[in-house]
């Protein structure tokens, strides 16, 4: 069958002559069906061997079918592809982005290993909506987990194609060949050799991954599983790494935007006359969006200070203290997430019943890089450089707001300076696009720190109520769990409890109007920080009720082999000796599971009983995450989780009154600092025969509980609210008794 698009592509390739004639090679395959878009795509990508791959986010990927990459509708049952270029270099095109989690390194490692090329021959092309196929976004510790197996399979497929080509080229059966260091040679005659570049020159071979290709055995890995330093390190230590706010275009202007004093406030009147008189200033008014533009952001900000505006503010009295009662009042009927046995029977069996209510406040993402974007409009086409975790989401939002087709919007994502879930909100990119269109010049929007706090989609304040019981033998027999507005992730308990029910009331960030006074959103390991804090604190209360050591109590009530293994590993690493809490030693334990990974923590704290200040001295964390692609990268993520988690455990809390956010700078909103640093010890529990699991989030989820349990062990004070500020610790110590 003659294939139109292949013909077109071969015409486009200059050194066609070096290839074979059409149809001669069994390797030149077509995809079923084609479209103008596909032709366009193939033209953009160029020659070589191409393997299309779906990253295993099947259901979510289906949502992307409304628009693929390349600004066009594409068959979107694939969302990444791999190319061995005519220069022999391996490129991976994906809509995922690099925000510090190291995925640009771990994905490249997998490719390099499977394709037998040096790591430095792999190029990652990420987060560009014109070059990469549609992707749902980078979050949920999913990149390596879901990318891993199919990407490796794609690489294996490409290697098989190369072997076949080499077999023809070297006139030797493929079985007698081996791939090594970007070339294929005859096993018995290593001097008979052909490089990938020679094999791909002038070729256009396209494959779509359908069946599982034969993967390299774990034992054959030379790069995966070995510690590798970040590939972006040199750029980052020399200042060459570019973030969205670092992109410059000729004639660009910087925006300072008029903001309301509170969420829900509406603009009543505005007077920009004084600001307009300043040299170099332009004012743009697009509905409620009023901005001052200047070529320097500091001059724009100064001029914004001269804009006089009045706002109507809604009446709202809810604040950071009353929010929990408010949430319980507006909570919808619950949805049963898990249940088993009979709660009534559990209550009868219980010799000790513990009821507790856990609270956690709103928490900010607070990446050090504020939201930033630069937009350029040319005719009907918009190009936007944005700090975003979901470039395709940003593209669609911009298109909707500008009332143009998504195909006319290109979003390019440079390095992202931290996201943690907060950069799934693309408001700044839309603002830049609207202002650029109005101004007729490229416009940069970089949020101030105050804007960053004000418009952050906070981790939701939430309440968890638990009623649980143990029997005389120290077994948990009752577990009645209700979570309000944190969301479901991590709410299911994993202990062996015969009578249990887990009910979730209201979602974390799609809750109805009148729930939260501002936007909320996913925050590193969404829902799970709240759920793990409540569950593991409650388990400790039960252990105390049963008069048992908290580690032994957990082991007694666990049947999950993976969890038992990580808990034992952590206890051993720490040098845990059993004792009933409070022992005065200041030791706490917690377990948790997230993104397919099992984690156990043990912490040692010191509580200053006069000031209520907690010093976390040591944290041991054991984690089982299946095959570890980059052990060093995995440990770094664990350390990052532990350090970041100290913030919401001890200090981070958004103060507010109605829609007015009171914490607008790092002076009042405290995030972890060097002086908080405990000794951190991480252990990766070997499980290399299981598929890779998530690594960017799991190690943070137990930080509230492990510190709370250690505080209880130190001071006998049970903290039921996060963060555990000195005031709350003193209050809890006053209640003990």
């Amino acid at each position: 069958m003659k294939d139109e698009y292949l013909e077109l592509d071969f015409r486009d390739l200059p050194d066609r002559k070096t290839g074979q004639t059409e149809g001669d090679s069994p390797l030149e395959q077509s995809l079923e069906g084609f479209s103008a878009d596909r032709r366009e795509f193939l033209k953009v990508v160029g020659g070589g061997i191409l393997v299309l791959v779906s990253l295993g986010e099947g259901e979510l990927l289906a949502q992307g079918r409304r628009g693929g990459g390349f600004g066009r509708q594409l068959p979107s049952d694939w969302n990444a592809f791999l190319r061995i270029g005519e220069d022999g270099r391996v490129s991976c095109f994906t809509g995922k982005i690099e925000m510090g989690q190291g995925v640009a390194t771990s994905l490249a490692q997998m490719l390099a290993d499977e394709l037998n090329v040096p790591l430095e021959n792999v190029d990652m092309v990420m987060g560009d909506t014109d070059l990469c196929p549609w992707d749902m976004g980078t979050f949920g510790s999913m990149s390596t987990r879901f990318f891993g197996p199919p990407l490796r399979a794609a690489a294996a497929e490409a290697r098989a194609v190369l072997l076949q080509l080499a077999a023809e080229h070297l006139q030797t059966p493929a079985a007698e060949l081996k791939a090594e260091n970007g070339a294929i040679s005859v096993k018995e005659h290593p001097e008979k050799k052909v490089s990938y570049a020679e094999l791909t020159k002038g070729k256009r071979i396209e494959r779509r991954l359908k069946e599982k290709a034969v993967l390299e055995e774990v034992s054959e890995f030379t790069i995966v599983g070995k510690p590798v330093l970040r590939r972006d390190a040199l750029e980052k230590v020399t200042g060459k790494a570019q973030y969205a706010a670092d992109v410059r275009l000729p004639g660009m202007l910087c925006a300072a935007i008029l903001r309301p004093p509170a969420h829900g406030a509406t603009l009543k009147s505005v007077d920009t006359s004084e600001a307009e008189r300043l040299p170099g200033v332009r004012i743009v008014k697009e509905g409620d969006l009023v901005a001052v533009l200047h070529k320097h952001p500091d001059n724009a900000a100064e001029a914004l200070g001269k804009v006089k505006a009045e706002f109507d503010r809604p009446q709202s009295d809810v604040d950071d203290k009353t929010i929990f009662d408010h949430l319980l009042k507006v909570a919808p009927e619950g949805k049963t997430v898990a249940s088993g046995g009979d709660l009534k029977r559990g209550a009868e069996l219980a010799t000790g019943v513990v009821e507790a209510t856990y609270l956690n406040s709103y928490v900010s993402h607070a990446p050090i890089e504020p939201h930033a974007a630069l937009a350029k409009i040319e005719g009907e086409k918009a190009t936007v450089w944005a700090s975003t975790q979901n470039p395709f989401g940003a593209r669609d939002e911009i298109a909707r707001r500008l009332e143009i087709s998504s195909t006319n919007v290109r979003v390019i994502t440079p390095f992202v300076g931290g996201g943690f879930g907060g950069k799934t909100n693309n408001q700044q990119a839309v603002e830049a696009a609207v202002l650029a269109k109005a101004a007729g010049k490229p416009v940069q929007v970089v949020w101030t720190r105050a804007e960053e706090f004000f418009y952050d989609t906070f981790r939701p304040a939430a309440v968890v109520k638990i009623r649980s019981g143990v029997d005389g033998a120290g077994r948990i027999v009752l577990w009645d769990y209700h979570v309000y507005f944190a969301g479901e992730r991590g709410c299911q308990q994993f202990y062996d409890v015969p009578n249990h029910a887990t009910v979730s009331h209201g979602s974390g960030w799609t809750a109805g109007a009148g729930t939260h006074p501002f936007r909320t959103g996913p925050w590193r390991a969404p829902s799970n920080n709240t759920n793990s804090f409540a569950r593991e604190s409650q388990i400790d209360l039960l252990a105390a009720k049963a008069g048992a050591d908290p580690v032994e109590f957990r082991l007694k009530n666990l049947t999950d082999e993976r969890m038992i293994r990580v808990l034992k590993t952590a206890a051993e690493k720490f040098g845990w000796t059993p004792k009933k809490a409070p022992s005065g030693r200041g030791l706490g334990v917690a377990c948790g599971t997230d993104s397919g990974t099992c984690v156990a923590w043990i912490a040692e704290v010191e509580v200053d009983k006069t000031s209520g200040v907690v010093e976390v001295k040591r944290v041991v964390c054991a984690q089982e995450m299946g095959l570890v692609i980059n052990p060093e990268g995995a440990r770094i993520q664990m350390e990052g989780c532990i350090t970041m988690g100290l913030g919401y455990a001890l200090a981070e809390e958004v103060h507010f009154k109605g829609g007015e956010v009171r914490d607008l700078h790092f002076g009042s909103y405290q995030i972890p600092r060097f002086s908080w640093l405990p000794k951190i010890e991480t252990v990766l529990v070997d499980a290399k025969d299981s598929p890779p699991q998530g690594g960017g989030e799991p190690a943070i989820i137990g930080m509230g509980a492990v510190v709370a349990n250690a505080v209880f062990d130190a001071a006998g004070a049970r903290l039921l609210q996060l963060p555990m500020t000195p005031e709350r610790i003193k209050e809890a110590m006053g209640k003990r008794g």
Binding site: G100, G239, P370, F415, I636
Partner: protein, 160 residues
């Protein structure tokens, strides 16, 4: 008010006509074409904008342009000399002392200034002098290890 201000930037003389009250960060980033110094807060809390002025780590978001007149300013772009990375840059790479990298230029320059003043800081001294440089990814452990390794090499010991 615009005035002509001269200073040394990354070993090269610079002469700029600008309002001397403007903050150095914005002049570096928008007038002089550098993007190494980052804005994390613009209020002096985070340290992402840290540069060296006459060898001292300063917050470029708080320092007025006129205050660097006649002085030597070094940004992350000017830290490597003759194509050779500064030992602190090398140590940050070796110890993987970064994740998103946004705070990294400020961290490195803060550490360079510390080691210049105190080539053999204790762990406590490192924690104290780095305390006002914020990192959200939690790279702190590695950053401390990187600085400690440079301190050891400065005192002639093994670097790792």
């Amino acid at each position: 008010m615009e005035q002509a201000i001269q200073f040394t930037l990354n070993n090269k003389p610079v002469r700029i006509a600008a309002d001397g009250e403007r903050k150095l960060l914005w002049v570096l980033r928008y007038d002089l074409g550098l993007t190494g110094p980052k804005c994390g807060c613009g209020q002096g809390y985070c340290g992402a904008c840290t540069v060296l002025v006459a060898g001292e780590a300063v917050r470029s978001c708080l320092m007025s342009l006129k205050d660097v007149a006649g002085r030597e300013v070094v940004t992350i772009e000017g830290l490597a000399r003759n194509g050779r990375l500064h030992p602190v840059q090398e140590a940050f790479m070796e110890h993987d002392a970064m994740q998103c990298g946004y705070c990294t230029p400020g961290m490195i320059l803060e550490a360079v200034a510390l080691l210049r003043k105190n080539p053999k800081p204790s762990r406590e001294e490192i924690l104290k002098s780095m305390d006002d440089n914020l990192c959200r990814c939690g790279a702190h452990t590695r950053i401390v290890a990187a600085i400690e390794s440079v301190a050891r090499s400065l005192s002639g010991g093994p670097t790792r």
